[in-house]
């Protein structure tokens, strides 16, 4: 065609890091700690719920609905989605505080500078995107931190879009707090959740958003002009799974209690394993992930192969996939382009994986250590 084919709204957003890394992971014989999905099954009751949904009533086979502030590091899709809508992303970084020598960093140590955050709000700021627990850092925002964000949102009349997909994945007794529950916030907050992360069934692709009707009605308009429905059986399975959890809420046998406890142990195991080869993990308060400081490797092997201007962490990950058989995700993909150089010495590991996977990881790390 002679005319420009694609709509201008796609300019600059055609590249997607997941497509690249998922492909790489599938092409090499690797232990995949990259993309965030459990490689163990969902809990039995969830699988059963899906079984019921697909073998029950056959009618379930039919149909059954400006400027944006983004806190870095951020789940990468926030930026292209903002751009595709014609919005302009404005970035404000979480920064690590100093740590004592020999001590491990914690995600709680990474904080927003309140003056810097306030300076990002202008009269043209339409929304702020919050993610707690945070991917990739694993930070769980405290009540004080949320109150700061809340007061700025109210002061500047900004909508808060809060991605809380990891809401159940909190460790060491840290509570997950929904900013929508703070005074003055319900009417300006959209809270997003995920069945995939809640029930370890990422392939079901059911998520939800909660919020006041005066904002939700606009989301419904987009819904009815895009996909219109979500699959019926998946929704039935999620509903049944929630019903089960409701009955057990707060009890030891609740999946929402047991699963994070089990994942906390895997987190701790991975933290110890990574330290054995000189990687410096940042202990996460929540989420599926932890990030690891690779500065020592950057000092010792500064010239890994890669494209001109390719951030170090991406080159490191590719080297690690090919030479050490381990997949992680470079943290610079979770940053805006101008700030990638500040994060190019971190890589992200997913520890929500089967015991066997973590054992395989230990094997690879043992071999690696032997080669050091």
């Amino acid at each position: 065609m002679a005319k420009q084919l694609q709509a201008r709204r796609l300019d600059g957003i055609d590249h997607n890091p997941w497509v690249e890394f998922v492909k790489l992971a599938s092409e090499h014989d690797v232990v995949n700690l990259g993309q965030g999905f459990p490689d163990f099954p969902p809990p039995d009751f969830a699988v059963e719920a899906f079984q019921h949904a697909v073998s029950g009533d056959f009618m379930l086979n039919q149909y059954t609905k400006a400027f944006v502030i983004i806190i870095e590091p951020f789940f990468d899709c926030y930026e292209p989605m903002t751009v595709m809508a014609g919005g302009r992303p404005v970035f404000v970084p979480l920064k690590p505080g100093p740590i004592q020598n020999g001590e491990l960093g914690s995600s709680s140590n990474w904080q927003l500078d309140s003056m810097e955050l306030a300076s990002k709000f202008t009269s043209r700021t339409k929304a702020l995107v919050l993610n707690t627990p945070n991917n990739p850092l694993g930070k769980v925002f405290s009540r004080e931190e949320l109150e700061l964000v809340a007061s700025l949102c109210q002061q500047h009349d900004v909508v808060c879009i809060t991605d809380e997909v990891y809401q159940w994945m909190v460790y060491d007794g840290h509570p997950h707090i929904s900013i929508a529950s703070l005074p003055g916030m319900w009417e300006r907050t959209l809270t997003i959740g995920s069945a995939g992360k809640t029930f370890s069934a990422t392939g079901w692709k059911v998520g939800w958003v909660l919020g006041p009707d005066h904002i939700m009605k606009h989301l419904r308009t987009v819904h009815q002009n895009s996909i219109f429905h979500c699959p019926t059986q998946s929704q039935a399975a999620v509903a049944e799974s929630f019903e089960r959890e409701q009955l057990l809420f707060g009890q030891p046998s609740s999946y929402f209690v047991q699963f994070p406890q089990a994942m906390q142990r895997r987190r701790d195991r991975m933290v110890r394993s990574l330290q054995s080869v000189g990687l410096k993990p940042v202990v996460p308060q929540g989420s599926y992930f932890l990030i690891t400081d690779i500065s020592d490797f950057k000092r010792k092997m500064p010239d890994l192969p890669g494209a001109v201007d390719e951030p170090y962490d991406r080159r490191f990950v590719k080297w690690m996939i090919k030479n050490k058989g381990l997949v992680a995700i470079p943290v610079s993909i979770f940053c805006s382009v101008p700030h990638q150089k500040h994060f190019d010495h971190y890589i992200r590991f997913c520890f929500v994986k089967d015991e066997a996977t973590l054992q395989a990881m230990d094997e690879k790390l043992r071999k690696w250590k032997a080669e050091l």
Binding site: L10, N61, K205, I227, T232
Partner: protein, 429 residues
């Protein structure tokens, strides 16, 4: 009783739907005028909030209503299709993320099948995209390829989402109606409804980005023939326009008719996106899986939209669909193949509906394909889905006397419908 008619909120009533939020009442604290602006919807959805399916679905939820409205089967999907999904839900890896642009076993099955139908090689990774229903394919296509200020030609009556999707992309829909030839005592057929080639050409200009074609057609049931498709193809080539071909009912074609793919016409593959639907192919509308097929230089843009919206579709459903496809692909010449057996089953139901509607003095338009039949009800004041819902405001009056009935329903549903229609007819006389 059938769904009662209400005044419809269908998309072309622009002025009715301008909404701003009066925030000071709702938010409960002293607000300046600027506050209400921040909480207003983005301009792209202005006026698009009305949707007649939502309204009719609510009305049809009343159990005393016999639902011949929305196009979903109340007959059981094939057993093997349901069984596949059941087996798959127990396989652990299939409960996690799969490839974003389409689960590998599904895109392989789709390319195998469609290579036969297109008589050309189709790259399963680069020339196919799996979406959330055909709706999702329409959305991805429009968002990827239609820009603000573009014009898109819609043939009236049209599946209602085409107009708001085009508007949501900031483009302008341009309408052209199908017109019926005079019938004179013959049985009225969907093939009697045609486009005037000169009138069609007059709608094309340098701003025309695409035309949306739907064959077999909803709501008329028209199956475009070779000559008709050639007229459209010639214009697409002459004006260098894209063709978005919604072929969800591709298997539902009745005796004496053949479904033709415009993408197979010379010069058309490179400018056409063809859309298909699992829901309509296997009578599983609730699975919400569809696909777009086309050249990589177009599909790659749909993939960009995909990776910036839903990212990936549900895994277990895609795997089950792949298995179901393989079962039927292996027996395509067999009468037992669902692609062959379903249209046979539906033709019987179609004929029954035609007979029923004629027997009470309504004038049905016998569809050559699809799930639906339209009847001229100007003799009776009754409603199902009014065909005016598939029209823009200017052409609405031409179609006001028609209603659309869906006949992919089990016999007991059609029995209940028959009783109701006959009762009306008795009342009237």
């Amino acid at each position: 009783m059938f769904l009662a008619q209400r005044s419809l909120c269908f998309p072309s009533g622009r002025a009715k739907f301008l909404k701003t939020i009066s925030s000071s009442k709702i938010l409960g604290f002293s607000a300046s005028a600027k506050m209400s602006l921040k909480f207003t919807n983005a301009k792209r959805i202005e006026g698009l909030d009305g949707n007649m399916w939502i309204e009719f679905t609510k009305l049809a939820a009343d159990p005393s209503v016999v639902n011949l409205g929305q196009g979903f089967p109340d007959i059981s999907p094939p057993t093997y299709v349901k069984e596949e999904l059941s087996k798959i839900s127990a396989i652990d890896s299939l409960n996690q993320y799969t490839r974003g642009f389409g689960h590998p076993s599904l895109v392989k099955a789709l390319s195998y099948l469609y290579e036969k139908l297109y008589q050309k090689q189709i790259d399963s990774n680069k020339e196919i995209l799996v979406t959330v229903g055909a709706y999702g394919s329409l959305f991805n296509t429009v968002q990827a390829l239609i820009d603000e200020g573009d014009e898109v030609i819609l043939i009236v009556p049209f599946y209602d989402c085409y107009e708001p999707m085009v508007r949501m992309a900031g483009a302008t829909p341009v309408f052209i109606p199908l017109r019926s030839k005079p019938v004179d005592g013959k049985r009225w057929s969907s093939s009697d409804w045609t486009l005037d080639p000169q009138e069609l050409e007059s709608k094309f200009n340098s701003k025309t980005k695409a035309i949306i074609l739907n064959t077999p057609h909803n709501p008329l049931g028209k199956v475009y023939n070779k000559e008709e498709l050639q007229v459209i193809a010639d214009l697409c080539i002459k004006y260098d326009t894209l063709c978005i071909s919604d072929e969800v009912y591709e298997w539902l074609v009745y005796s004496g008719n053949k479904h033709l793919k415009i993408a197979t016409f010379p010069g058309m593959w490179e400018r056409t996106i063809t859309i298909g639907s699992a829901g309509k192919t296997f009578s599983v509308t609730g699975w919400k899986l569809g696909w777009s097929i086309g050249p990589n230089h177009l599909i790659k843009h749909l993939q960009t939209v995909q990776q910036n919206t839903i990212y990936t579709c549900a895994t277990p459903l895609q795997e089950a669909l792949a298995q179901a496809f393989w079962i039927d692909i292996k027996r395509m010449d067999d009468p037992e193949c669902y692609f062959n057996s379903l249209p046979k089953e539906l033709e019987v139901k179609r004929d029954r509906m035609v007979h029923l509607l004629e027997s009470v003095g309504l004038k049905p338009i016998v569809p050559d394909g699809g799930y639906f039949i339209i009847a001229d009800v100007s003799l009776l004041k009754l409603s199902a889905i009014p065909v005016s819902a598939f029209c823009n405001s200017e052409t609405k009056s031409q179609f006001e006397k028609f209603v659309r009935f869906c006949f992919i329903k089990k016999d007991s549903t059609l029995d209940a419908a028959e009783e109701i229609i006959k009762a009306w007819s008795v009342q009237k006389s």
